[in-house]
Protein backbone atom coordinates (compact mmCIF):
# COMPACT_ATOMS: atom_id res chain seq x y z
CA UNK A 1 0.00 0.00 0.00
CA UNK A 2 1.35 3.45 -0.92
CA UNK A 3 2.10 5.88 1.84
CA UNK A 4 0.28 9.18 2.34
CA UNK A 5 2.46 12.25 2.61
CA UNK A 6 1.63 14.79 5.31
CA UNK A 7 3.46 16.56 8.12
CA UNK A 8 3.89 16.74 11.85
CA UNK A 9 2.63 19.74 13.81
CA UNK A 10 6.14 21.24 13.63
CA UNK A 11 6.05 21.03 9.83
CA UNK A 12 8.47 18.13 9.42
CA UNK A 13 7.53 15.67 6.63
CA UNK A 14 5.68 12.48 7.60
CA UNK A 15 4.41 9.41 5.75
CA UNK A 16 1.42 7.42 7.02
CA UNK A 17 -0.63 4.45 5.90
CA UNK A 18 -4.36 5.02 5.44
CA UNK A 19 -5.13 3.19 8.68
CA UNK A 20 -2.58 5.33 10.57
CA UNK A 21 -4.11 8.44 9.03
CA UNK A 22 -7.63 7.40 10.03
CA UNK A 23 -6.43 6.58 13.56
CA UNK A 24 -4.82 10.01 13.96
CA UNK A 25 -7.99 11.74 12.74
CA UNK A 26 -10.10 9.77 15.21
CA UNK A 27 -7.65 10.40 18.05
CA UNK A 28 -7.70 14.14 17.33
CA UNK A 29 -11.48 14.19 17.46
CA UNK A 30 -11.49 12.15 20.68
CA UNK A 31 -9.15 14.67 22.30
CA UNK A 32 -11.50 17.53 21.30
CA UNK A 33 -14.56 15.68 22.58
CA UNK A 34 -12.90 15.02 25.93
CA UNK A 35 -11.31 18.44 26.51
CA UNK A 36 -13.74 20.88 24.86
CA UNK A 37 -16.91 18.82 25.41
CA UNK A 38 -17.94 19.10 21.76
CA UNK A 39 -19.75 16.51 19.59
CA UNK A 40 -17.54 14.13 17.56
CA UNK A 41 -17.22 14.47 13.78
CA UNK A 42 -19.46 12.20 11.72
CA UNK A 43 -18.13 9.20 9.77
CA UNK A 44 -18.73 11.20 6.55
CA UNK A 45 -16.61 14.06 7.88
CA UNK A 46 -13.80 11.67 8.85
CA UNK A 47 -13.97 10.14 5.36
CA UNK A 48 -13.82 13.66 3.84
CA UNK A 49 -10.58 14.25 5.75
CA UNK A 50 -9.14 10.85 4.77
CA UNK A 51 -9.84 11.62 1.09
CA UNK A 52 -8.39 15.12 1.48
CA UNK A 53 -5.08 13.86 2.86
CA UNK A 54 -4.91 11.06 0.27
CA UNK A 55 -5.01 13.55 -2.61
CA UNK A 56 -1.64 13.91 -4.26
CA UNK A 57 -2.17 17.54 -5.34
CA UNK A 58 0.41 19.85 -3.84
CA UNK A 59 -2.22 22.60 -3.37
CA UNK A 60 -5.96 22.16 -2.89
CA UNK A 61 -8.78 24.72 -2.76
CA UNK A 62 -12.44 25.07 -1.90
CA UNK A 63 -15.19 24.15 -4.34
CA UNK A 64 -16.50 27.00 -6.53
CA UNK A 65 -19.04 29.05 -4.61
CA UNK A 66 -17.44 28.32 -1.21
CA UNK A 67 -14.85 31.11 -1.37
CA UNK A 68 -14.52 33.13 1.82
CA UNK A 69 -13.03 36.44 2.94
CA UNK A 70 -9.34 36.57 3.83
CA UNK A 71 -8.66 39.04 6.62
CA UNK A 72 -5.22 39.90 7.97
CA UNK A 73 -3.98 41.08 11.33
CA UNK A 74 -0.91 43.24 11.91
CA UNK A 75 -0.23 43.74 8.20
CA UNK A 76 2.28 46.55 8.58
CA UNK A 77 4.14 44.68 11.31
CA UNK A 78 4.57 41.62 9.11
CA UNK A 79 6.26 43.61 6.35
CA UNK A 80 8.71 44.94 8.94
CA UNK A 81 9.26 41.40 10.28
CA UNK A 82 10.79 40.51 6.92
CA UNK A 83 13.27 43.38 7.32
CA UNK A 84 11.49 45.32 4.58
CA UNK A 85 11.64 48.92 5.68
CA UNK A 86 8.63 50.27 3.84
CA UNK A 87 6.40 53.13 4.93
CA UNK A 88 3.24 51.75 6.57
CA UNK A 89 0.83 53.41 4.14
CA UNK A 90 2.68 51.69 1.30
CA UNK A 91 2.68 48.41 3.27
CA UNK A 92 -1.11 48.51 3.32
CA UNK A 93 -1.32 49.31 -0.41
CA UNK A 94 1.03 46.35 -1.05
CA UNK A 95 -1.23 44.06 1.01
CA UNK A 96 -4.25 45.23 -0.92
CA UNK A 97 -2.98 45.61 -4.48
CA UNK A 98 -0.13 43.08 -4.66
CA UNK A 99 -1.10 40.41 -2.11
CA UNK A 100 -4.87 40.64 -2.63
CA UNK A 101 -5.84 41.06 1.04
CA UNK A 102 -9.57 41.57 1.61
CA UNK A 103 -9.07 43.60 4.81
CA UNK A 104 -6.25 45.83 6.02
CA UNK A 105 -4.90 46.58 9.44
CA UNK A 106 -2.66 49.43 10.50
CA UNK A 107 -0.65 48.69 13.62
CA UNK A 108 2.40 49.80 15.56
CA UNK A 109 5.37 47.52 16.15
CA UNK A 110 4.58 47.25 19.90
CA UNK A 111 1.14 45.88 18.93
CA UNK A 112 -0.36 46.56 22.37
CA UNK A 113 -2.94 49.18 23.34
CA UNK A 114 -1.13 50.56 26.39
CA UNK A 115 2.00 51.98 24.67
CA UNK A 116 -0.12 53.58 21.93
CA UNK A 117 -1.55 56.33 24.10
CA UNK A 118 1.48 58.68 24.04
CA UNK A 119 1.86 58.36 20.25
CA UNK A 120 -1.79 58.29 19.23
CA UNK A 121 -1.65 61.56 17.27
CA UNK A 122 1.04 60.10 15.01
CA UNK A 123 -0.94 56.88 14.59
CA UNK A 124 -4.07 58.85 13.72
CA UNK A 125 -2.24 60.84 11.02
CA UNK A 126 -0.96 57.61 9.48
CA UNK A 127 -4.44 56.08 9.59
CA UNK A 128 -5.92 59.13 7.87
CA UNK A 129 -3.32 58.97 5.07
CA UNK A 130 -3.74 55.20 4.69
CA UNK A 131 -7.52 55.49 4.40
CA UNK A 132 -7.12 58.03 1.59
CA UNK A 133 -4.78 55.77 -0.39
CA UNK A 134 -6.50 52.37 -0.09
CA UNK A 135 -9.88 50.79 -0.85
CA UNK A 136 -10.43 47.80 1.48
CA UNK A 137 -11.94 47.93 4.99
CA UNK A 138 -9.30 49.22 7.40
CA UNK A 139 -8.82 48.19 11.02
CA UNK A 140 -6.52 49.56 13.64
CA UNK A 141 -5.23 46.61 15.62
CA UNK A 142 -3.38 45.81 18.84
CA UNK A 143 -3.45 43.39 21.77
CA UNK A 144 -5.01 44.09 25.20
CA UNK A 145 -1.77 42.56 26.56
CA UNK A 146 -2.35 42.84 30.30
CA UNK A 147 1.22 41.73 30.82
CA UNK A 148 2.31 45.34 30.26
CA UNK A 149 0.33 46.57 33.29
CA UNK A 150 2.46 44.92 35.97
CA UNK A 151 5.48 46.35 37.76
CA UNK A 152 8.18 47.21 36.77
CA UNK A 153 6.76 47.91 33.27
CA UNK A 154 3.34 49.02 34.54
CA UNK A 155 1.74 50.49 37.66
CA UNK A 156 0.28 47.41 39.37
CA UNK A 157 1.82 44.68 41.55
CA UNK A 158 2.55 41.50 39.60
CA UNK A 159 0.07 38.74 40.53
CA UNK A 160 2.63 36.15 39.40
CA UNK A 161 4.88 37.36 42.23
CA UNK A 162 2.02 37.71 44.74
CA UNK A 163 0.50 34.25 44.21
CA UNK A 164 3.60 32.22 45.22
CA UNK A 165 3.64 34.26 48.46
CA UNK A 166 0.08 33.12 49.15
CA UNK A 167 -1.27 36.62 48.50
CA UNK A 168 -4.17 35.38 46.39
CA UNK A 169 -6.56 38.18 47.38
CA UNK A 170 -3.95 40.84 46.60
CA UNK A 171 -3.15 39.18 43.28
CA UNK A 172 -6.80 39.18 42.25
CA UNK A 173 -7.22 42.80 43.32
CA UNK A 174 -4.25 43.69 41.15
CA UNK A 175 -5.85 41.91 38.18
CA UNK A 176 -9.10 43.83 38.79
CA UNK A 177 -7.23 47.14 38.62
CA UNK A 178 -5.33 46.04 35.50
CA UNK A 179 -8.64 45.26 33.78
CA UNK A 180 -10.02 48.73 34.55
CA UNK A 181 -6.87 50.38 33.22
CA UNK A 182 -6.77 48.24 30.04
CA UNK A 183 -10.43 49.01 29.26
CA UNK A 184 -9.65 52.75 29.46
CA UNK A 185 -6.67 52.34 27.13
CA UNK A 186 -8.51 50.21 24.54
CA UNK A 187 -11.48 52.60 24.47
CA UNK A 188 -9.19 55.63 24.18
CA UNK A 189 -7.45 54.18 21.10
CA UNK A 190 -10.70 52.90 19.56
CA UNK A 191 -12.32 56.32 19.89
CA UNK A 192 -9.30 58.10 18.42
CA UNK A 193 -9.24 55.74 15.44
CA UNK A 194 -12.97 56.16 14.89
CA UNK A 195 -12.42 59.91 14.83
CA UNK A 196 -9.72 59.37 12.16
CA UNK A 197 -12.10 57.37 9.96
CA UNK A 198 -11.10 53.73 10.62
CA UNK A 199 -13.66 51.12 9.63
CA UNK A 200 -13.00 49.07 12.72
CA UNK A 201 -10.83 48.19 15.67
CA UNK A 202 -9.21 44.78 16.12
CA UNK A 203 -8.72 43.35 19.59
CA UNK A 204 -6.11 40.75 18.76
CA UNK A 205 -4.66 37.87 20.79
CA UNK A 206 -7.40 38.26 23.37
CA UNK A 207 -6.93 36.12 26.45
CA UNK A 208 -3.14 35.94 26.12
CA UNK A 209 -2.97 37.00 29.78
CA UNK A 210 -5.86 34.76 30.74
CA UNK A 211 -9.34 35.57 32.04
CA UNK A 212 -8.53 39.21 33.00
CA UNK A 213 -7.41 39.83 29.40
CA UNK A 214 -10.71 38.43 28.06
CA UNK A 215 -12.70 40.37 30.66
CA UNK A 216 -11.04 43.67 29.65
CA UNK A 217 -11.78 42.97 25.99
CA UNK A 218 -15.45 42.20 26.63
CA UNK A 219 -15.89 45.32 28.76
CA UNK A 220 -14.12 47.49 26.19
CA UNK A 221 -16.26 46.02 23.40
CA UNK A 222 -19.46 46.84 25.29
CA UNK A 223 -18.35 50.39 25.88
CA UNK A 224 -17.19 50.96 22.28
CA UNK A 225 -20.38 49.44 20.89
CA UNK A 226 -22.56 51.65 23.09
CA UNK A 227 -20.79 54.77 21.85
CA UNK A 228 -20.36 53.76 18.18
CA UNK A 229 -23.20 51.45 17.07
CA UNK A 230 -21.86 51.15 13.48
CA UNK A 231 -18.13 50.73 14.25
CA UNK A 232 -16.53 47.43 13.27
CA UNK A 233 -15.11 45.43 16.19
CA UNK A 234 -13.10 42.30 15.48
CA UNK A 235 -12.05 40.05 18.36
CA UNK A 236 -9.36 37.44 17.68
CA UNK A 237 -8.50 35.03 20.46
CA UNK A 238 -5.04 34.01 21.69
CA UNK A 239 -5.82 30.37 22.38
CA UNK A 240 -8.51 27.74 22.39
CA UNK A 241 -8.96 27.86 26.16
CA UNK A 242 -9.18 30.90 28.46
CA UNK A 243 -6.55 30.43 31.16
CA UNK A 244 -7.72 31.07 34.72
CA UNK A 245 -4.99 33.45 35.82
CA UNK A 246 -7.50 35.14 38.15
CA UNK A 247 -9.82 32.19 38.39
CA UNK A 248 -12.88 33.94 39.79
CA UNK A 249 -13.49 36.45 37.02
CA UNK A 250 -17.04 36.47 35.62
CA UNK A 251 -18.83 38.31 32.81
CA UNK A 252 -22.61 38.32 32.53
CA UNK A 253 -22.69 35.58 35.14
CA UNK A 254 -20.31 33.33 33.17
CA UNK A 255 -16.99 32.30 34.65
CA UNK A 256 -14.34 33.15 32.05
CA UNK A 257 -11.67 30.66 33.08
CA UNK A 258 -11.86 27.49 31.01
CA UNK A 259 -14.09 28.73 28.21
CA UNK A 260 -13.66 27.13 24.78
CA UNK A 261 -14.55 28.85 21.44
CA UNK A 262 -18.33 28.25 21.45
CA UNK A 263 -18.71 29.81 24.90
CA UNK A 264 -16.20 32.58 24.08
CA UNK A 265 -18.32 33.43 21.03
CA UNK A 266 -21.51 33.70 23.08
CA UNK A 267 -19.98 36.41 25.28
CA UNK A 268 -18.25 38.20 22.40
CA UNK A 269 -21.42 38.27 20.32
CA UNK A 270 -23.48 39.61 23.21
CA UNK A 271 -20.88 42.28 23.96
CA UNK A 272 -21.19 43.63 20.40
CA UNK A 273 -18.33 42.10 18.41
CA UNK A 274 -18.80 42.30 14.60
CA UNK A 275 -16.37 39.50 13.59
CA UNK A 276 -15.10 36.76 15.92
CA UNK A 277 -11.82 34.90 15.41
CA UNK A 278 -11.64 31.61 17.32
CA UNK A 279 -8.33 29.83 17.81
CA UNK A 280 -7.24 26.23 18.27
CA UNK A 281 -3.57 25.82 19.03
CA UNK A 282 -1.42 23.38 17.05
CA UNK A 283 0.27 20.56 18.96
CA UNK A 284 3.75 20.24 17.41
CA UNK A 285 4.13 16.68 18.75
CA UNK A 286 1.11 15.36 16.83
CA UNK A 287 0.47 15.08 13.09
CA UNK A 288 -1.36 17.68 11.00
CA UNK A 289 -4.29 15.25 10.48
CA UNK A 290 -4.60 14.85 14.28
CA UNK A 291 -4.49 18.62 14.74
CA UNK A 292 -6.90 19.35 11.91
CA UNK A 293 -9.53 16.87 13.09
CA UNK A 294 -9.27 18.27 16.60
CA UNK A 295 -9.46 21.87 15.34
CA UNK A 296 -12.54 21.23 13.20
CA UNK A 297 -14.33 19.42 16.04
CA UNK A 298 -13.77 22.42 18.34
CA UNK A 299 -14.50 25.23 15.85
CA UNK A 300 -17.53 23.65 14.14
CA UNK A 301 -20.00 24.11 17.05
CA UNK A 302 -18.80 27.72 17.42
CA UNK A 303 -19.42 28.50 13.75
CA UNK A 304 -22.75 26.67 13.69
CA UNK A 305 -24.09 28.71 16.59
CA UNK A 306 -22.73 32.09 15.44
CA UNK A 307 -24.99 34.87 14.20
CA UNK A 308 -21.96 37.06 13.34
CA UNK A 309 -19.17 36.27 10.83
CA UNK A 310 -16.52 33.81 12.03
CA UNK A 311 -12.97 34.32 10.76
CA UNK A 312 -11.01 31.43 12.29
CA UNK A 313 -7.34 32.04 12.96
CA UNK A 314 -5.25 30.04 10.47
CA UNK A 315 -1.56 30.73 10.65
CA UNK A 316 1.70 29.58 12.12
CA UNK A 317 0.84 27.53 15.21
CA UNK A 318 -2.96 27.81 15.07
CA UNK A 319 -5.75 26.21 13.07
CA UNK A 320 -3.72 23.01 12.49
CA UNK A 321 -1.11 25.02 10.59
CA UNK A 322 2.36 23.79 11.69
CA UNK A 323 4.43 25.66 14.24
CA UNK A 324 7.04 26.96 11.82
CA UNK A 325 7.83 30.34 10.31
CA UNK A 326 7.56 28.74 6.87
CA UNK A 327 4.18 26.94 6.78
CA UNK A 328 4.18 24.49 3.81
CA UNK A 329 1.39 25.14 1.31
CA UNK A 330 0.42 21.44 1.08
CA UNK A 331 -0.88 21.33 4.66
CA UNK A 332 -1.93 25.00 4.84
CA UNK A 333 -4.21 24.60 1.81
CA UNK A 334 -5.62 21.28 3.11
CA UNK A 335 -6.30 22.75 6.54
CA UNK A 336 -7.89 25.89 5.04
CA UNK A 337 -10.14 23.92 2.66
CA UNK A 338 -11.35 21.55 5.37
CA UNK A 339 -11.95 24.33 7.88
CA UNK A 340 -14.02 26.33 5.38
CA UNK A 341 -15.99 23.38 4.03
CA UNK A 342 -16.66 21.48 7.26
CA UNK A 343 -16.98 24.41 9.68
CA UNK A 344 -18.80 26.71 7.21
CA UNK A 345 -16.59 29.64 8.09
CA UNK A 346 -17.08 33.19 6.84
CA UNK A 347 -13.41 34.04 6.62
CA UNK A 348 -9.90 33.11 7.65
Amino acid sequence: MSKIFTRMGDGSPLEMTESELRQDLEDGVAEAVEKAEVPPLSSDEIQYLVDLFKREDRIVGVEPGKEIVLSYDAATLKIKRHSLFEDRVNCLAIYERLLGADTLELCHVDYSYKPLKPIISYEQATMEQALAATHSPMFYGAMPNLGLYTQPDGPFPNPMELLPMGKIKEGRESYDRMVESAVEDICFIAEAMHESGADGINLDTVGASGDPDFKASLMATERIRAKFPDYGIEMGMAGEFVLGMHGEMFHDGTRLAGLYPRDQLRLAEKAGVSIFGPVVNTNANESVPWNLARTIAIIKPCSEEARIPIHANMGMGVGAVPVTDYPPVDVVSRASKAMVELCRLDGL
Binding site: P64, G65, E67, I68, V69, L70, S71, E96, R97, G100, D102, T103, E128, L131, A132, A133, T134, H135, S136, P137, M138, H194, E195, S196, G197, A198, D199, G200, D230, Y231, G232, E234, S274, I275, A306, R307, I308, P309, I310, L345, D346, G347
Partner: protein, 91 residues
Protein backbone atom coordinates in the same frame (compact mmCIF):
# COMPACT_ATOMS: atom_id res chain seq x y z
CA UNK B 1 -9.49 43.78 -5.01
CA UNK B 2 -8.68 41.04 -7.56
CA UNK B 3 -12.36 40.18 -7.36
CA UNK B 4 -14.85 41.22 -4.66
CA UNK B 5 -13.43 40.02 -1.33
CA UNK B 6 -12.97 43.56 -0.02
CA UNK B 7 -16.61 44.36 -0.81
CA UNK B 8 -17.92 41.22 0.89
CA UNK B 9 -15.65 41.92 3.88
CA UNK B 10 -17.00 45.47 4.10
CA UNK B 11 -20.57 44.16 4.21
CA UNK B 12 -19.64 41.52 6.80
CA UNK B 13 -18.10 44.19 8.97
CA UNK B 14 -20.78 46.85 8.70
CA UNK B 15 -23.86 44.62 8.70
CA UNK B 16 -22.54 41.60 10.66
CA UNK B 17 -23.75 39.33 7.84
CA UNK B 18 -22.48 35.78 7.45
CA UNK B 19 -20.72 34.82 4.23
CA UNK B 20 -23.72 33.61 2.21
CA UNK B 21 -25.85 36.62 3.06
CA UNK B 22 -22.94 39.05 2.56
CA UNK B 23 -22.15 37.62 -0.89
CA UNK B 24 -25.81 37.78 -1.93
CA UNK B 25 -26.04 41.38 -0.72
CA UNK B 26 -23.03 42.43 -2.81
CA UNK B 27 -24.07 40.39 -5.86
CA UNK B 28 -27.59 41.87 -5.81
CA UNK B 29 -26.27 45.42 -5.54
CA UNK B 30 -23.78 44.84 -8.39
CA UNK B 31 -26.35 42.91 -10.44
CA UNK B 32 -24.00 39.95 -10.94
CA UNK B 33 -24.27 36.30 -9.95
CA UNK B 34 -22.83 35.16 -6.60
CA UNK B 35 -20.38 32.86 -8.40
CA UNK B 36 -19.10 35.79 -10.47
CA UNK B 37 -17.95 37.61 -7.32
CA UNK B 38 -14.79 35.47 -7.17
CA UNK B 39 -13.98 35.73 -10.89
CA UNK B 40 -11.11 38.22 -11.33
CA UNK B 41 -11.77 38.82 -15.03
CA UNK B 42 -15.47 39.59 -14.66
CA UNK B 43 -15.04 41.54 -11.44
CA UNK B 44 -12.19 43.68 -12.77
CA UNK B 45 -14.54 44.86 -15.51
CA UNK B 46 -17.38 45.44 -13.05
CA UNK B 47 -15.06 47.32 -10.71
CA UNK B 48 -13.66 49.46 -13.51
CA UNK B 49 -17.18 50.29 -14.75
CA UNK B 50 -18.38 51.25 -11.27
CA UNK B 51 -15.18 53.05 -10.23
CA UNK B 52 -14.53 50.70 -7.28
CA UNK B 53 -10.75 50.60 -7.68
CA UNK B 54 -8.67 48.00 -9.50
CA UNK B 55 -5.31 46.32 -8.88
CA UNK B 56 -3.53 48.43 -11.51
CA UNK B 57 -5.13 51.88 -11.30
CA UNK B 58 -3.37 53.79 -14.04
CA UNK B 59 -3.88 57.47 -14.86
CA UNK B 60 -7.44 58.69 -15.22
CA UNK B 61 -9.00 55.98 -13.04
CA UNK B 62 -10.57 56.62 -9.63
CA UNK B 63 -8.37 55.78 -6.67
CA UNK B 64 -8.61 55.58 -2.88
CA UNK B 65 -11.29 57.85 -1.41
CA UNK B 66 -12.80 58.46 -4.84
CA UNK B 67 -13.54 54.74 -5.12
CA UNK B 68 -14.92 54.59 -1.59
CA UNK B 69 -17.55 57.16 -2.51
CA UNK B 70 -18.62 54.90 -5.38
CA UNK B 71 -18.59 51.79 -3.15
CA UNK B 72 -20.68 53.53 -0.47
CA UNK B 73 -23.25 54.72 -3.02
CA UNK B 74 -23.66 51.45 -4.94
CA UNK B 75 -23.57 49.13 -1.90
CA UNK B 76 -25.64 51.54 0.21
CA UNK B 77 -23.08 51.53 3.04
CA UNK B 78 -21.96 54.20 5.46
CA UNK B 79 -18.14 54.46 5.30
CA UNK B 80 -16.62 56.19 8.29
CA UNK B 81 -13.68 57.88 6.56
CA UNK B 82 -15.99 59.46 3.97
CA UNK B 83 -17.93 61.17 6.74
CA UNK B 84 -14.63 62.48 8.09
CA UNK B 85 -13.57 63.62 4.62
CA UNK B 86 -16.81 65.58 4.14
CA UNK B 87 -16.49 67.07 7.61
CA UNK B 88 -12.87 68.12 7.07
CA UNK B 89 -13.53 69.47 3.57
CA UNK B 90 -16.53 71.46 4.75
CA UNK B 91 -18.83 69.62 2.32
Amino acid sequence: MRSAGDLVARVQLSKKLRIGEAKKYVADKLRVGVKELSDPVIMSEVRADLGFGIMMPLGGTPKGLECKFNIARVLDLDINCLNRFKRMAGL
